[in-house]
Amino acid sequence: MGHLRRCLFALAAAAALGGLSAAANAQNTLRAVMHSDLKILDPIWTTAYIVRNHGYMIYDTLFATDEKGEVKPQMVGKYDVSADQLTHTFTLREGLVWHDGQPVTAEDCVASIKRWAAKDSTGQKLMSFVDNLAVKDDKTFSMTLKAPTGLVLLGLGKPSSNVPFMMPKRVADTDPNTQISDFTGSGPFVFKRDEWKPGDKTVYVKFDKYKPRSEPASGFAGGKVVSVDRVEWRAIADHQQAINALLAGEIDFIEAPPHDLLPLAIGDSNVKLYDWNVLGNQFTFRPNWTAKPFDNAKIRQALLYAFNQKDFLEAVVGDAKYYKVCPSYFPCGTELFTEKGLEGKLTSDFNKAQALLQEAGYDGTPIVLMHSTDVQILTNLAPVAKSLMEKAGFKVDMQSMDWQTLVARRAKKDPPTAGGWHAFLTSWVSIDITNPIFTGFMNAACDKAMFGWPCDAEMEKLRDDFARETDPGKRKAIAEQVQVRAAEVVTHVPLGQWYQPAVMRKNVNGMLKAPAPVFWNITLN
């Protein structure tokens, strides 16, 4: 028995020493649990948000969106536009270097813009206006347009996937459809590839040679001043365990805790809530235009009358503090927000919906509604949609599956009875849907559109008009027309805005409000 006691004592002592060493290590390190584990490292190759967030850690951008949504110069020091608005000249600010110590050049930036534009839909649209991208000298390059467009700053300052991150030319010359393998950036953090263990942790250290702008940090813009030595993204897949680890002080920050676990966290005096993404997110219903009966606009319009946003928001989020009824395709709180075209809709007017179905000659074809069961924030959406659609007179065949199966299936154009689909529900980060060009579901270019494949020449013409227009007032007017058209043809249905506060230890201060979580400006007290 005495021997057993000695063994237990030795084990306890060893365990305690292990704990001390871990605590010492953590003092200058911000330990964060992100919404997902980082598996892919090329933010141009994929549109996944976690990879975009990784991009913001290690890369910088020519322009950036501030907290108010305005585009400001970031790597660019001087920016000139010719009187005819056809020539845009960009001069990089002094002191910008890559993580390997080499200076950032105009040549690097031109190559980076080209790679981004080859993949990103906004970039592709922008390049359709570009006549020439030319390097003037080490620090200066110009973009010559065939016709004026408002997309230059909108594109180069695009805040979300795909973000036009700047990379060294040798990296940016990689085929856009091949993942990069050199992760040299010029952003405020350096990626520690040797410590990257997918499924465990991703490590970034402060880039000592980073030269922040002199303006105060705001959103993605301004001075990116780093006050922590190291940021670790810990991969904790179990939400409950992430909260437990936060309460025990083993981690400092959780990006996206489920709403139902928030009371557990905020009950602790060492933990606080912080809403970093003030614009929030939008739930969306997407019909498949290529599948009967959703090839009929009247039947799609019946959806707009059958649904009401509050039912969805209550079922998923529950607490009114974290959601907002917002009858608009463009999110509430953004420049282009408008209710035009949606007046009297999204009110669950079942009589009107039934009348439209009757008028359209709906024959009772069951609607194959894909129901995602494993992404907590999406799980309750489809049952609500099914219930409201049935009340309106639709027959609904709700098919449950995991999100990855849904992702694969939504890319198929097969008939719904043969592995295809009629509709699914998802959620967009608001910053991705702030204008008709960013909003992927408004692309109505038939086969070239996103899954659901809306096909509407009028919508495409309006989107082109928006891209060409440079006057903010006129652009807002066009955006209103786009929304009216979207509600007429029903590219998709906006189902309300919701907010996802982060939880963090109270010693974490200075986190910026931005559409993606960024880790500069943060101090650990």
Partner: protein
């Protein structure tokens, strides 16, 4: 004996081939598409198709299988679709945490279960016996994740004795390694303690009425010696069988335990790979688990010959 071992090893080849075919087909026939997952939510159909082409997923299933099998036979499991790392590198990274967790679990389970089982048999019908049997039922019935959350609540959150989650490599210090593995190992050991204690009790109980036990007692052997040297040694074959079976079961247990405790082992890798439809990784991990299962069974069979000289192959 050597011939037997060789024969058993050769028999693993068709088993592994069948597993390979089944895993490959199951993955390809499930309605999923790694390319769509990789491309992300904002990607359009063309981008997804391009990624599919790059990954070789646009080729006929038979072509994909032949390419994969050819490489696998050369020990090349390919590159993970997601991590852009060789699958062998991913697996070797994850091997230590899983082996550590498994070994510590087995050690804890054996250290607790065998004495408990022997004592329960010795005190047959008494309070200890009833307690051990009651615990067995509980150990079998309560899901691993419930045990995990209860232990975490008590020992990590309320008492703050042990960390909630995570893993520290053995090379970074035995203290941290043990500190982080203790709760997961105990969690996982509960079911094995129940399993092994129960079979130990039954096996020892059976031999306790044998003539040689009575003889040992008549010769004046102490009770501990009778129990360990005579009863337990003769009851060992079924116990080892159950331990071997338990090691096989561990493969399933680590998947849940590693996920709850955030241990970057093969169990977590399997879950992550399945969720991401990372075909090369899933295929390699399942082949590895199958091979481990076959080898464990072989080791158990060979152990019989040491425990019972009457068994010969």
């Amino acid at each position: 004996m050597l011939t037997y071992v060789l024969r058993r090893l050769l028999a693993t080849i068709p088993v592994m081939l069948i597993v390979a075919v089944l895993v490959f087909l199951m993955l390809r026939l499930t309605p999923s598409d790694p390319a769509a997952i990789i491309a992300g939510d904002n990607a359009n159909t063309e981008q997804v198709a391009e990624i599919r082409r790059r990954l070789g997923l646009d080729q006929p299933i038979l072509t994909q299988f032949v390419i994969w099998l050819g490489k696998t036979l050369q020990g090349d499991f390919g590159e993970s679709f997601f991590f852009k790392k060789q699958v062998t590198e991913l697996i070797s990274d994850r091997l230590e945490p899983t082996l550590s967790l498994s070994l510590l679990t087995i050690v804890i389970a054996i250290a607790i279960a065998i004495p408990l089982g022997v004592l329960a048999a010795y005190r047959h019908g008494g309070w200890l016996d009833r307690t051990v049997m009651g615990f067995s039922v509980l150990g079998f019935s309560v899901p691993v994740f419930v045990i995990a959350y209860v232990l975490i609540y008590i020992f990590a959150i309320e008492l703050n004795w042990l960390p909630v989650q995570g893993y520290q490599r053995l090379a970074q210090g035995v203290g941290g390694w043990l500190q982080r593995l203790l709760l997961p190992s105990i969690t996982l050991a509960v079911i094995f303690v129940a399993l092994i204690a129960r079979i130990t009790r039954t096996s020892v109980l059976e031999v306790m009425n044998e003539d040689y036990i009575r003889t040992a007692r008549a010769k004046g052997q102490t009770e501990p010696k009778v129990l360990i040297r005579h009863a337990l040694a003769n009851a060992a074959v079924p116990i080892v069988t159950v331990i071997g079976f338990g090691v096989g079961l561990l493969i399933g247990g680590v998947v849940v335990t590693e996920s709850v405790y955030t241990i970057p082992g093969l169990g977590r890798l399997t879950v992550d790979a399945v969720l991401a439809r990372d075909y090369p990784t899933i295929q390699a991990v399942i082949l590895l688990f199958s091979l481990a299962y076959v080898l464990i069974n072989l080791v158990v069979d060979l152990t019989y010959t040491f425990l019972d000289p009457r068994i010969r192959y």
